[in-house]
């Protein structure tokens, strides 16, 4: 079936740098996307979401970009901190059914002090 996928399984950055985590989705009908952060042994934590009628949305230190033309989603984290170290998942909602989320393969972000 169709699913969301990530380009890189791991990403290592220096503290203070900006991080960019990418996600490619395959279902052009998807209209709602969410980024989650998951720390070891914990539940996914909501970071930011974006609807398909937008191409950019900003939060606190995070920005999500949506490129529907190439079906690409990215999460930018500014001034990455050690506490940002976690696995990041993008998830998509495909309309027509319930609001279940289809998760991509996570990217493990490691922030080096």
């Amino acid at each position: 079936g169709e699913s969301v996928g990530l380009h890189l399984p791991t990403l290592s950055v220096q503290e203070g740098d900006n991080s960019i985590i990418n996600c490619a989705y395959s279902n052009s009908a998807s209209d709602y996307f969410i980024w989650y952060k998951q720390e070891s042994g914990k539940g996914p934590q909501f970071i930011i979401d974006i609807r398909s009628n937008m191409d950019k949305r900003q939060g606190q230190r995070v920005t999500v970009l949506l490129n529907k033309t190439v079906k690409h989603l990215s999460l930018q984290i500014a001034a990455t901190q050690p506490g940002d170290s976690a696995v990041y998942f993008c998830a998509e909602n495909i309309p027509g059914g319930s609001e279940k989320l289809v998760f991509g393969k996570g990217t493990k972000l490691t922030v080096n002090p």
Binding site: I34, E99, K100, F103
Partner: protein
């Protein structure tokens, strides 16, 4: 702010036993989702409920069943447990069922021996 509550947090069972996982959504949330996450995997949707009615079903084995009660809490019943059922089970809740943010609980870690 109140979060999703799941119990138990950890559960150890033998093969062929049964297990019941409970989920208490955020107050006022009327939609509950269950996801299963294997080691190193992304969460996979199992089943969801909106206003106490099943709204969608994913890759949930026939050995599993779930329901949402009048107070909106949900229970996932798992019978004839198999080794492969060992995983993290997350419950998420939202208010409404259309492009509403799903907030995840801390999960129940099930180990089947």
């Amino acid at each position: 702010a109140a979060g999703v509550i799941q119990s138990p947090r950890h559960l150890i069972k033998e093969k062929r036993e049964t297990a019941t996982l409970k989920c208490y959504p955020i107050p006022r949330h009327d939609t509950v989702y269950w996801y299963q996450q294997g080691p190193g995997q992304d969460p996979q949707f199992l089943i969801s409920f909106y206003e106490k009615m099943q709204s969608d079903k994913g890759s949930i084995p026939d050995r599993f069943s779930a329901q949402q009660f009048s107070d909106y809490h949900s229970e996932l019943n798992m019978s004839s447990l198999e080794l492969g059922d060992s995983a993290l089970y997350f419950c998420a809740s939202s208010y409404g069922d259309y492009q509403e943010t799903q907030y995840f609980g801390p999960g129940t870690r099930l180990l089947v021996l």
